[in-house]
């Protein structure tokens, strides 16, 4: 018999390799929802506990990505990626302005060492 230990035999050992996130995800988020006699607004708690602690790293990150970006099939990341690109583009543009046209702030020191005083001209060796 070469059956690995974790195979259902006949019904299966406890879920192997599960971390806390795996367990919480199922126990809190996937089990059958039945309103018991004890009414709690799990939705509030889910938002705090599941969505924020379990699902996304931080509120800001969630907003940045659009909280449901992973929901569209395994084309998982396209939206997040687009946003990342957009952000990076803006950052680059700002950076470029500072580097090549900068006339104030700390960036100027950097440019000074690198190029002639006239800020607008490209440095040529």
């Amino acid at each position: 018999m070469t059956t690995p230990a974790r195979l259902p035999d006949p019904y299966g050992a406890p879920a192997a390799g599960a971390n806390l996130a795996d367990i919480l995800e199922r126990v809190l988020d996937k089990g059958i929802v039945i309103a018991g006699d004890i009414k709690i607004n799990l939705l509030d708690i889910e938002l705090l506990t599941i969505k924020l602690r379990l699902v996304v790293a931080s509120v800001d990150k969630a907003k940045e990505m659009g909280i449901d970006w992973w929901e569209d099939d395994p084309a998982l990341s396209s939206r997040a990626r687009r946003q990342e690109l957009r952000r990076e583009n803006a950052e680059l543009r700002a950076r470029l302005e500072r580097l090549e046209g900068g006339t104030h702030g700390e960036e100027q020191e950097l440019v000074e060492g690198a190029a002639p005083r006239t800020p607008r001209r490209e440095e040529s060796p």
Binding site: P4, L7, P8, Y11, G12, A13, P14, A15, A16, G17, A18, N19, L20, A21, D22, I23, L24, E25, R26, V27, L28, D29, K30, G31, I32, V33, I34, G36, D37, I38, I40, N41, L42, L43, I45, L47, T49, R53, V55, A57, W70, E71, D73, P74, A75, L76, S77, R81, E88, E91, L92, R95, L96, L99, L110, G113, A114, E122, E123, P125
Partner: protein, 270 residues
């Protein structure tokens, strides 16, 4: 102090007995409550923890939440070993046995239907991680230091070079994303073909899971027990296939993701 009834799962009458020592939430013994040919697996919990007010506070306490979730899962695991349980969401609590019976009677048809559908099936979890290969972090910190020390080598910091560097790095990251997506798509496709059903869950937070890398696919597959060995072999074969990509398998779980009864109050993110 009043004792409430915590319900873990609903299933068909067990053919094998529950472990005598099976303990649930707060260490209380789990027992079976039969009604109309179905059983609810229940244990007593104190209302000092499970009254509405107490529970609201408790659920925000990560340590309590963790212990309770593990205790819940422990009972579900034991049941999965002897039958096909319908796991209820954590902290489903009733006043007394008769309230549990009323609930079972009201939902009898739905329970039977789900039990028929899931009989002999288990859930396997598969996660794909993209390992961190760009150890350069956000990048900005590094650039600035480079610029300052770079006055000796001014050419390196022309805007054009900077852009070129940035573009190369972005392209590399893009390429890695593309590879991971393609890998995830193909694996999900072949696993879905082996499974009766599948669900895509939200990726996990590394802070909580403690897993390295970025979780890009978090899926669940419904697989008959008899075909589980094949399924596991299939997943194992893809492991270590591609550098920078890690595949993790968990299970067998009770069919948490496939009860079909959870939608009624699925939370909206906004």
């Amino acid at each position: 102090m009043t004792a409430l009834r915590y319900v873990y799962a609903v299933c068909r009458p067990l053919t094998a007995p529950l472990q005598a020592e099976l303990r649930g939430v707060a260490g209380a013994p789990a027992r079976q409550l039969e009604h109309h040919g179905l059983i609810a697996v229940v244990s007593q919990v104190p209302d000092s923890d499970f009254s509405e007010e107490a529970l609201r506070t408790r659920l925000e306490d990560m340590d309590w939440l963790t212990a309770t979730a593990r205790a819940h899962q422990n009972v579900i695991d034991a049941l999965t070993g002897v039958t096909t349980p319908l796991p209820l969401r954590m902290a489903t609590v009733f006043r007394d046995d008769s309230a549990v019976r009323v609930m079972m009677e009201k939902r009898e048809d739905a329970f039977r239907h789900a039990l028929d559908r899931l009989d002999g099936r288990v859930e396997w979890g598969v996660k794909i991680f993209m390992e961190n290969t760009d150890g350069e972090g956000g990048g900005d910190g590094g650039e600035d230091t480079g610029a300052r020390t770079g006055s000796a080598a001014p050419k390196a910091m022309s805007g054009r070079d900077y852009l070129r560097q940035r573009r190369m790095r972005t392209t590399a990251r893009e390429e890695q994303w593309r590879q991971v997506e393609e890998f995830a798509r193909r694996l999900h496709e072949s696993l879905s073909a082996q499974a009766e059903d599948s669900r895509l869950h939200a990726p996990q937070n590394p802070q909580l899971s403690g897993a390295a890398g970025r979780n890009v696919l978090n899926a669940a597959y419904l697989v008959p027990r008899a075909r589980s060995e094949e399924f596991v072999t299939l997943v194992d074969r893809t492991k270590d296939d591609t550098p920078g990509i890690r595949v993790e398998l968990t299970g067998p779980w009770a069919a948490y993701s496939f009860t079909g009864l959870a939608e009624e109050s699925a939370g909206e993110p906004t």
